[in-house]
């Protein structure tokens, strides 16, 4: 496999190239066109996996595996962590600060791409040696790379280690926050709460007054308005509160409508039965929710 895959391009590789190349380009476009950062990250992860397959097809077996472990495994997951920290739903603003910047940028990109591809087209790239000999010279791809890293590139390798340590320390220094004052004890916190005089008991739970028990549904105050306090601060900030205050009234109206229709056709004796039937799914749904919550 070592010599065959790396010394010639087969029909199978051509098929693989055209199929996976399409996927890679689609993933790249997805990265720059998706509005949410999470979707962009997932598209990029797909592109990177395809690139790993291309490395393997090109005889770079070590790099192919490293690409999957380091890029899609570590770097993309780090990206996802930061996306979660910064806020998943924080979509890009579509407001242009510079007028026409988007189109100019797209035109620049197009020109740059034409330049690059024309450059490759004009270059005389007709040498094709294949990696078969190089890969088998020291017994395999990994052995060949190790031989180079620890002889010819040993200084670059050592300096890379220093770079990694510096980056790790730098990240810690950047994200570290020094505590400037002593943390309050529990007693002090409780005294502070009493002194401020608001919310001595815990905050009201979400949805309990509104026959729902999902955390994104605010409880209703006696007058039917929403109580924002009942929903977590994060959901409030993201605007992901589901308002169901009018749902009960709508249900009742729909129920009355249905029973009116039924009454119009049949006798009145069926009315309570219809009411039971139409209420049934809701009741079972709610009890199901409660079970899941427990």
């Amino acid at each position: 496999m070592n010599t065959l895959a790396a010394s010639a391009t087969s029909v199978g590789e051509a098929v693989q190239f055209w199929v996976l190349g399409t996927v890679a380009v689609a993933g790249a476009f997805g990265t720059i066109l998706m509005r949410r950062a999470v979707h962009s990250a997932l598209c990029l992860a797909g592109t990177m996996i395809v690139l790993a397959v291309f490395y393997l097809a090109n005889g770079a077996y070590f790099l192919g595996v490293v690409q999957i472990i380091v890029y899609t495994g570590a770097i993309m997951m780090l990206f996802l962590f930061v996306v979660m920290l910064v806020g998943v739903t924080a979509a890009d603003s579509l407001k242009e600060t510079l007028k026409g910047q988007r189109w100019l940028a797209a035109a620049c990109g197009l020109g740059f791409g034409v330049l690059l591809i024309a450059g490759i087209g004009n270059a005389s790239l007709n040498t094709f040696t294949g990696l078969g000999a190089a890969n088998s010279a020291h017994g395999g791809n990994v052995e060949g790379l190790a031989q180079l890293i620890f002889t010819k590139y040993v200084f670059a390798f050592e300096i890379t280690g220093a770079l990694l340590i510096t980056a790790a320390v730098g990240a810690m220094v950047l994200t570290h926050r020094e505590r400037t004052e002593r943390a309050k004890t529990q007693r002090e916190l409780s005294e502070l709460r009493v002194r401020e005089g608001k919310h001595l008991p815990p905050l009201p739970a979400p949805g309990v007054y509104a026959r729902h028990n999902a955390v994104d549904i605010p409880g209703l105050l006696p007058d039917g308005t929403l109580s924002e306090l009942t929903v977590s601060k994060t959901l409030r900030a993201r605007g992901q509160i589901r308002d169901v205050s009018s749902e009960a009234l709508n249900d009742l109206a729909a129920l009355e409508q249905r029973s009116e229709e039924r009454l119009g056709r049949e006798t009145g004796s069926h009315e309570p039965h219809a009411r039971d039937e139409s209420k049934d799914p809701h009741d079972s749904h709610d009890s199901h929710d409660e079970e899941a919550a427990k």
């Binding site: 391009t9 924080a90 990696l131 890379t160 990240a171 950047l174």
Partner: protein, 99 residues
């Protein structure tokens, strides 16, 4: 199939990444586009390594990966820091040296 096709694909991916850096405002997405460009370069290195039957290209790609990892660590720390002080990851909002 001509292995030069890998170079064309890498050029295409690099171009898409560069356009993304110019078009997008979200600092995280801009960063992802930079990663895409680095990956496209790696593909070029690997393809050339195969064409010339020489493992040096793969070594350079390997070092690029290490540098990219270091760059991501520091860059994402800076983005988290920016988000903490400005409550936004948009590159447009980071227009002042000091808040």
């Amino acid at each position: 199939m001509n292995p030069v096709n890998y170079l064309y694909l890498a050029a295409l991916l690099f171009t898409i990444g560069a356009a993304g850096v110019l078009i997008r405002r979200n600092a995280i997405v801009v960063f992802m586009c930079i990663e895409l460009m680095l990956n496209a370069c790696n593909l070029t290195f690997v393809a050339f390594s195969r064409m010339h039957g020489n493992l040096d290209g793969q070594i350079i790609a390997f070092f690029t990966m290490v540098v990219a990892a270091a760059e991501v660590v520091v860059g994402l720390a800076i983005i988290v820091l920016l988000f903490r002080s400005r409550h936004s990851a948009s590159v447009d909002d980071a227009s002042l040296m000091k808040l």
